[in-house]
């Protein structure tokens, strides 16, 4: 793991809920190495010079360009960061991987093509392929000569993918599996060469297969006409007695779900990085437009209601960067300790990533929803021009929407977040119950003397601490009421997920800002401090709303009143002047003409 100098501490997944972290324990965009910055520059240049000028052609399905760009990206090394050196890859850290996804995201159509190829199209082989399979395919994938795709979903099973209908049966001579069924919505299908296809052997054993496009019995259906990401190919895949050699079974028979779930973890944090990159691009264009559009004899960037939007967009990116890079930073410090020559190095790597499954889902949900907000305001600031195709907001608005659907819908990811946290708590992996008890004891003993805070950001730290306490308290109240059956109460599970998501986002944002203050001082960190105060206000509002919603559902009468009083107490803080703060942020954005934190 060449690049990141990871924070020393190895931080367990989900532990943010029950432990406090110091700023120096987390990775932030300010910690990018010189090498990271150079790689980001190459990705940026490649996107601006090669991808963006060709966007229109790709929107109209000229896939020869997509293939050509995949080849060029591979030659530069942009597509091979996650492939081991032994198979022609660069084998770099996940921070690098995310930085590239972030910078390539300016044109979502190609970003999806590239993301599917390097992510779900390649990683099953990287993590689960045997030596022969890797030797056979990976060097060609690394060189961009063959393009990968991933076929899990079906018309009748998307979220519920393990319940697929596709079947596989061993041929009488024992040399092939014969695959039958139909896969749906397969990214890159029109021009991919190698598909990871999931099917049930004998209708039972859920298994992954490596299927080449020329295997007899495989055909690709018609392109879907999509709302967005029209520059990417999405087609059904038809398997009609498709002959797959037995040596092309990927991983263990009957354990395809391990592949499916693990690949999604990676897909999720990279989707987060890509959403942040897409949002940054949208904000830069929104600022530029607001500066030059005049109404009522002024540039519209003079108006408070427009400035508010610009500031909110920028805060979204700041927090988005904070959660994405904090998450992959934790991963990199675990991955960097793995002995690459070990026989089970890949299994260890997979487990290292899986450790942060909850954080990956948080990043996915939070960043995709942030992006949707950002592009919505992008359209709004462009107003009439935002609604027509000739201007960039319209496409960005449509392109963003898919992110809440694929890589697990945001509903499914919310269920995962709360579900996994509870599972970890029950298995004893996460000391959640003792933490809940501590918080309950604390709040029952009445209001604590709030220490008069002298140190920088003390008030902000208190808010984050209370946000986490609220999450624990409400999770405790909900589990007490429903016990094991809590997972069936989806609205409550969803509200708990929202609290967990916000707590992580608020804390990540604050820790990054604390780190900035520690290195550059409060004056230089004025903008990040403002963005943090804006975000904490917003985050706490969401947490309080979710807390009230759950409390009202799990308690009544006196109990309800007591609990609501506690909620209100924990959610209370002296308000920041967010109008002035947003003005400050917007002013700087307008001066510099683009997103930035200085």
């Amino acid at each position: 793991m060449a690049t990141t100098v990871p924070p020393k501490t190895r931080i367990p997944g989900c532990s943010f809920l029950i432990e406090d972290r110091r700023p120096d324990e987390i990775f932030t965009p300010e910690d990018f190495s010189e090498q990271h910055r150079l790689i980001a520059q190459t990705a940026d240049d490649f996107c601006n010079n090669e991808i963006v000028p060709n966007a229109e052609k790709m929107e109209h399905k000229d896939y020869s360009i997509s293939r050509d760009l995949l080849k060029k990206a591979a030659e530069l090394g942009l597509s091979t960061v996650d492939i081991p050196e032994a198979y022609g890859g660069l084998e770099m850290d996940k921070v690098t991987s995310c930085l590239i996804a972030d910078r390539i995201a300016k044109y979502a159509g190609f970003a999806t093509t590239w993301g599917a190829h390097t992510g779900i199209g390649t990683l099953p082989l990287v993590f689960f392929g045997n030596e022969q399979q890797k030797q056979k395919y990976l060097p060609k994938i690394a060189a961009g000569e063959i393009v990968g795709a991933y076929a899990l979903s079906e018309a009748t099973s998307g979220s519920d993918a393990l319940n697929c209908r596709a079947r596989a049966q061993l041929s009488p001579d024992g040399k092939h599996y014969l695959l039958n069924g139909e896969k749906m919505w397969i990214t890159n299908a029109a021009f991919a060469d190698l598909f990871t296809v999931f099917a049930k052997i004998d209708g039972e054993k859920f298994t992954a297969f490596l299927v080449e496009k020329n295997f007899p019995g495989l055909s690709v259906g018609k392109e879907e006409h999509k709302l967005g990401i029209r520059g990417s190919s999405t087609c059904p895949l038809v398997l009609n007695d498709c002959q797959v050699p037995v040596e092309n079974v990927l991983g263990e028979i009957g354990r395809g779900h391990i592949i499916a779930f693990n690949i999604l973890n990676v897909g999720r944090f990279k989707l987060g990085a890509s959403a942040v990159g897409g949002a940054r691009n949208a904000v830069d264009q929104t600022i530029a437009y607001a500066k030059q559009r005049r109404a009522f004899e002024k540039p519209i960037s003079d108006f408070g209601l427009i400035r508010e939007k610009l500031a909110n967009q920028a805060v979204g990116i700041y927090v988005g960067e904070s959660i994405v890079y904090r998450t992959v930073g934790m991963m990199d410090s675990v991955l960097s300790e793995i002995d690459k020559s070990a026989a089970d190095a890949m299994t260890q790597a997979r487990k290292g990533i899986e450790e942060y499954a909850v954080e990956c889902s948080i990043v996915k949900v939070w960043a995709s929803e942030m992006l949707d907000y950002v592009v919505d305001e992008f359209v709004q600031v462009y107003a009439g021009y935002g609604f027509v195709e000739e201007y960039p907001a319209e496409r960005a608005y449509r392109d963003a929407r898919i992110n809440r659907i694929f890589e697990g819908t945001n509903e499914i990811n919310r269920l995962i977040i709360t579900g996994f946290v509870l599972k970890r708590a029950l298995s004893g992996q996460l000391a959640l119950l003792p933490a809940i008890k501590r918080v309950m004891d604390e709040v029952m003993s009445g209001p604590s003397m709030s220490e008069e805070a002298e140190s920088p950001l003390a008030a902000e730290r208190a808010i984050v601490a209370n946000a986490k306490k609220l999450g624990l308290l409400i999770a405790g109240a909900a589990s007490q009421k429903y016990m094991q059956a809590l997972v069936d109460q989806q609205e409550i599970v969803g509200a708990l997920a929202d609290m967990i998501i916000e707590a992580y986002a608020m804390e990540s944002c604050l820790l990054r800002t604390q780190k900035l203050v520690a290195t550059h001082g409060e004056t230089a960190a004025k903008l990040p401090i403002a963005m943090t105060q804006i975000y904490l206000t917003q985050g706490m509002e969401k947490i309080e709303a979710a807390a009230k919603k759950v409390t009202a559902a799990v308690a009544e009468g006196d109990m309800l009143r007591t609990q609501l009083a506690i909620v209100r107490r924990l959610a209370k803080f002296e308000p920041f002047n967010t109008i002035a703060l947003r003005q400050l942020v917007a002013q700087r954005l307008i001066e510099t003409g683009k997103y930035g934190i200085v």
Partner: protein
């Protein structure tokens, strides 16, 4: 051919600039990039090396942050780098910068030295020319093309109004390179990875101090020009407006 390329880190083209407190230069908190013509000079050097073999060495003077420029050059294929590292180098005039470079490379034997035509910040267009003078080498400016021949090189210079000049020169020589003369390559990831292990020689201010003299050129004051344009609208029927206009031009502005 052994080629030295002088590269400078300058504020990014679209970076919003703010004056420093003393009003003599800009504040440091901006984003930086490689001076554009220098990037073309590097590209040209790499192409010459690919054709004729040899070595490409890059040099810069500036604070620690300027190292980024050298790493980028190493990632693109330069063989080694020399960094004159000190905050004080930022304030040197062209003569002193050239002196510092000459001192830093006194033990080297280059066939060619490339600089960019000029820098995007100060815009002196002097450093390369003075460096040639200090070394006692011939030089040519605004170079668009370089061909090696039996006696040295033949270069194409850009003149004005679409005219060009071809010059035969002996080696060693100094050339200042025009922007846009070739297509810049990307730094590949493998190049970036390898750049970390390429040699980077650091030269301290003290090592070259004896070659320097007080700056002959000094920025006394830097300021943003005040907008002075005033617009006045004349109303009324056309004949009246015309009359008012003539009156203003004659009596107020006195240009008629």
């Amino acid at each position: 051919m052994k080629i030295l390329v002088c590269m400078k880190q300058v504020p990014q083209k679209d970076a919003p600039l703010k004056l420093n407190e003393s009003g003599t230069w800009i504040r440091e908190d901006v984003s930086y990039e490689v001076n554009e013509p220098d990037a073309y000079a590097l590209e040209e050097a790499l192409r010459q090396k690919e054709k004729h073999g040899g070595e490409v060495v890059v040099i810069t003077s500036g604070p620690a942050r300027a190292q980024q420029v050298l790493r980028e050059a190493l990632a693109k294929g330069a063989d080694r780098a020399i960094h004159l590292e000190d905050d004080a180098f930022v304030g040197l005039d062209a003569l002193n910068t050239a002196r510092a470079f000459a001192a830093a490379i006194k033990d080297e034997q280059f066939d060619l030295i490339f600089t960019g035509l000029q820098s995007d910040d100060y815009g002196f267009a002097q450093t390369g020319v003075i460096l040639a003078e200090l070394l006692g080498w011939p030089h040519a400016t605004i170079i668009m093309q370089i061909e090696k021949n039996d006696t040295g090189i033949r270069v194409k210079r850009e003149l004005e109004a679409g005219f060009f000049q071809f010059v035969n020169m002996p080696l060693p020589a100094v050339l200042t390179i025009q922007s846009g003369i070739n297509k810049l390559r990307y730094a590949t990831l493998i190049g970036i990875k390898q750049a970390k292990n390429k040699p980077m020689r650091k030269v301290a201010l003290a090592d070259v101090q004896s070659a320097l003299t007080p700056n002959l050129q000094k920025i006394e004051r830097l300021y943003v020009p005040q907008k002075t344009k005033k617009t006045e609208t004349l109303d009324g029927p056309p004949a009246e407006i015309a009359k008012k206009l003539v009156d203003k031009l004659r009596n107020e502005l006195r240009i008629l």
